[in-house]
Symmetry: C2
Amino acid sequence: MKKKVLKALTEARDGYLSGQALCDALAVSRTAVWKVINQLKEEGYQIESVPHRGYRILKRPDVVTAEEIGSRLQTETIGRQVVFYDVIDSTNNEAKRLAETGAADGTLVVTELQEHGKGRRGRGWVTPAKASIMMSLVLRPQIRPEHASSVTLVMGLAVAEACREFCKVDARIKWPNDVVVDGRKICGILTELSSEVDYINYLVIGTGINANLTELPLEIAATATSLTLQTGMKIDRAGLIAACLERFETYYRKFLQTEDVSLLLLQYNALLAGKEGRVCVLEPGKEYIGTSHGINERGELLVEREDGTIERVYAGEVSVRGIYGYV
Amino acid sequence: MKKKVLKALTEARDGYLSGQALCDALAVSRTAVWKVINQLKEEGYQIESVPHRGYRILKRPDVVTAEEIGSRLQTETIGRQVVFYDVIDSTNNEAKRLAETGAADGTLVVTELQEHGKGRRGRGWVTPAKASIMMSLVLRPQIRPEHASSVTLVMGLAVAEACREFCKVDARIKWPNDVVVDGRKICGILTELSSEVDYINYLVIGTGINANLTELPLEIAATATSLTLQTGMKIDRAGLIAACLERFETYYRKFLQTEDVSLLLLQYNALLAGKEGRVCVLEPGKEYIGTSHGINERGELLVEREDGTIERVYAGEVSVRGIYGYV
């Protein structure tokens, strides 16, 4: 109900929506509408009420509640269900728990504070409260498990584009898991999979974005940045989440068509950090320098070695460095 | 403590172990030993006590408790922790929950009754109480996720060999997930994986064995059988579990050495049902007949088509039938 009122107000053409129109659209009484409007005001929404015109949202609070995100999403399956927590251990862990108990394809988990944020391989991921975006999607693609890793690339592309368009920053993709601005990390993506040999139970894709951080912890200050630090502006987090998820839905559908990124190659490589630049590839027991030619349809990074041979670098135990601002 | 007493009694050389020896070995009082012996008797163990010789187990109840299994296992990591439940939704689900909260590599989950037993792709798996073996192992191999599917083959080999040696039946492997006797299923294996792109969080391998079923549900009577129906004998389930896990540990180590089944190929193919026989391969949109030449080191089934070409069949959306007793 609250989400529906918010959505109707958000989508009102000239900004105003009459109380009667709200009653009709939602099939509830004037009193019910009035109660919800008051609840919203208590939560920090500034809503004016003008005779003969109706209600209008003047200012939204910077919240990432299920209602706020839901009211701004134009997607079909991605984020159709939003689950919000003030505090949670980690959105990926919660998404996995929800998936185990039947959460639908596209369910989004969001929080204001992660107590045990997760980086890759069980490493930590530090995020101050109420300043970051921490979200995890539950997906149930009917694809082969070995094709699932490219979903990370799809999300990277969606986040980079959303940051560019919504926040006007020069965001680029640091293959395979990060998005960078000015060579410094603003987003990390962690994809986890529950599968049988030939069947995906579910996939959880976690995305952390440094949105409104005005200071960075000392240990990452040299290698990370935030959208606020880059733009000098406060980021509308719910709006950025919606921008990310809308692009993700579009690209994810293209990915599902072919089970690879062939339909996204041009866009992806156009936003790839360091393309045609020199990279240093570190694999276990092997290290070499070459030129990055972007990814292929399977999501592998093509690196031309000095002798002209092309290496296809798989997003495995490998680190590609040197061309970006951080290692 | 109970497990230690059971293990000491189980491993006693001439069958007898004096109360004093038990006290010394476990560093507890005579009263403590006596209490445990009485507990065991209450649980159905027949234990005689002979002056000057000590205690001896005359008969063990057919239970699959943590103590009973633990007292009979000679493994190092596999089953070092055993968790037993009278009733659980599914041992795979419980193993996954335990793995999420940190269960060690090798943890075994066993139950007497599954309320929602799991077959592949979310299908059900029917198992009457107290007659079957239902167990799931938590593994944490440091291998690439795409190599994990072969662990199913390793367990298939271990179960087939254990059934042959422990129960004296002509058990054979039905690639990739089942073990059959006389062309009928006695065992199904379901492997599930939680992973990041290049990293395995954990792997759960569930094994269901039709042990002491004296009747089979009508819908599976034509395609399944049980060890009791095949041998006319009651199966010592804890003993069979120990036999499976000991073989599994040995073969699993060989698998980890190479991350494939190259060191197990001869043994596996020797026990493969229908090897060198005719098979019908059903893939989505494709069906053909050929001759099975067994698996290769990557665990793919090699099928020679009528024109002489060799197909490598991946354990994916494929069904191999016709040569076994059931489809």
